[in-house]
Symmetry: C2
Subunit: 205 residues, 2 copies
């Protein structure tokens, strides 16, 4: 990985741990293995590093949005995959989602960084909400909607059902971000949550 990229990577790590203001260009340089002034060969200033991270993100999200969709271009094709969905499949879906959000290094660091910077301006607020509220609800709503269409889940209100599916996952995720030692506990709650979700919304027979 070239220096320019390594700077972003190390900066992201530091920003996610301490927040922008508590990270010094010196810290970043040190992690990269160069001296602070050398950073300026690659980025105009500290803010430009931050901005580059946000930009890089935005494009990675585009890709990710595709990748998460198992067969992105054709939602009805996904339906095949879920035709035989049962509780264990749903648990797996939830666990995978949780594991991805929780352990994907890039995702995790970015989320933590945004958590610390979300109130700085409207743009960052927007990015956070998009990424961790609107988009997941919309994507999962689509998936769960397929299950409803299949008759595997029953509800009159898919968006609210989706909220019921996702909100606990989101909340447990934030717990793990701030207290990683509670991950096991969170995973157990996760599984119970999904099993109960399935019991509640599953076709009742």
């Amino acid at each position: 990985m070239d220096t320019k990229q390594r700077i972003l990577d190390e900066a992201l790590t530091l920003f996610s741990e301490r927040g922008y203001a508590n990270v010094f260009v010196n810290d970043i340089a040190e992690k990269v293995g160069i001296k602070a002034p050398s950073l300026y060969k690659h980025y105009k200033n500290k803010q430009a590093i931050f901005d580059a991270i946000i930009d890089e993100m935005s494009s990675k999200f585009e890709q990710q949005a595709q990748a998460l969709s198992i067969n992105g271009t054709n939602p009805t094709a996904d339906a095949e995959v879920y035709r035989s969905m049962d509780e264990d499949h749903l648990v797996k879906l939830g666990n995978d989602l949780f594991a991805y959000f929780l352990h994907d290094s890039y995702t995790k660091r970015f989320r933590k960084m945004l958590t610390l910077e979300q109130f700085k301006d409207k743009d960052l607020a927007r990015v956070y909400s998009e990424q961790y509220f609107d988009r997941p609800l919309s994507y999962q709503g689509m998936l769960l909607g397929l299950l409803v269409a299949q008759g595997l889940l029953v509800t009159e209100n898919v968006p609210i059902m989706t909220l019921h599916f996702y909100a606990p996952i989101y909340m447990l995720l934030t717990v793990c971000d701030r207290e990683p030692e509670r991950e096991q506990e969170a995973l157990e709650l996760m599984e119970k949550h999904i099993r109960q979700f399935d019991k509640i919304y599953g076709r009742n027979f």
Copy 2:
């Protein structure tokens, strides 16, 4: 309010908007209407102001824990209140909870401040989780447990049901904290959430 207290109050406001590191003692002094060096007559340094806020909080929470319990010392007395609980009562319970968390000035500023400082150290992480995860789940679990005992709600797993009740509320709250202009939208989702919650867990007849 005396100066010492006003300092805490203005500092809390600023910390909640910008985070500790982005607030200068000068800013605090200005809001209070004194010069920066005068702050040091009241607090040893900037960190001591932050610490005092946290301490003050912790004690307010003690009180609050009592206040929230309608009849704190005697849970079974609460049961009376809820004997005739129906969907509209539940909506009101949720709305009140939401409105309190969202609009109580002190609570709101403190929550936002903690959001920005939660990764600084284990203590702060603990305080956040206690206040916005463990305690609400435990308290609401108690209340919802009463409704289950009354036969007004049905579940085999009260803690998970409580998660289903609270997690969406929490999530919508964080949305409003970062995008206050979405409050209306959040309130509507809130109400739908609770109505669906009631439909799901309510006795089915």
